[in-house]
């Protein structure tokens, strides 16, 4: 069981901290520079959703492994904010209730390997992202 890193999200500076912390972790796992950037960008989107809609929440980072021992980074962005009434709609490009471009959730989903969202009105929102290391996967096949 590897250590979990927890970043409280209350301001736009915390959003930057969260994505930088994830990038450091991704670099330690030898994720490619591109994958580090994709992950950091996805975190920026989901963490901003916390400050925009819920005001506060947290981002948790940890290293996970799949059945072949391949490492990846799991990111959980959780809040106890207003929640999302229509999750399907929130995952469509261009839909927003926050005055942005509506690219946050659908964009983040396109940036990472795995994406899950759990939300209900007044119950808060939890978004889980996973980015797998590709280097190790090649090693397993070889």
């Amino acid at each position: 069981m590897e250590a979990e890193s927890r970043i409280a999200i209350e301001s736009d500076a915390d959003v930057v901290t969260a994505r930088q912390r994830a990038r450091e972790l991704a670099a330690e796992l030898d994720l490619s520079s591109t994958d580090q950037t994709l992950l950091a960008t996805a975190i920026s989107e989901v963490a901003r959703n916390i400050t925009t809609y819920a005001k506060r929440g947290e981002v948790r980072l940890r290293v996970v492994r799949d059945g072949d021992g391949r490492p990846g980074i799991e990111v959980v962005a959780a809040d106890h904010g207003p929640g999302i009434a229509d999750v399907e709609r929130a995952l469509q490009d261009g839909y927003t209730t926050g005055g942005g471009l509506g690219l946050g959730l659908p964009g983040a989903r396109r940036l990472v390997d795995e994406f899950d969202i759990q939300s209900a009105p007044s119950a808060g929102t939890t978004v889980t992202l996973v980015m797998w290391s590709r280097t190790a996967a090649r090693g397993v096949r070889a």
Binding site: T41, E45, L111
Partner: protein
Amino acid sequence: MAVPILKQGPVLIASIQTALTDTDVLQLREDVMGQVTRHRSRGIIVDVTALDVMDSFVSRSLRGIAHMTRLRGAETVIVGIQPEVAFAMVQLGMQFEDVQTALDLEEGLALLRTQLKEPLDGGG
């Protein structure tokens, strides 16, 4: 952290030095608009070489700067978008077609020089 903006003749050069918070980005937009007016600038270069993430907020704000300055008669060029950042922007679905971009500061200045039809190094 404030983004330094240098004046070179009719052109303003904003060189982003470090990761920007949303507040920093909004400040940059305000500073650029203020300086375009003060210096009657014809061109603006925003150097994003130092940015390792350009999420939807930053991208939208930079596009906003380009649109607003154009309404003031000045052309903005975004220079130095890193290859991984460009990849992430496309995956994210960011539309950036209506914004001028160039590889680096030198290319950006060359582009503005052609568009403004005047040398950029005179006039202090």
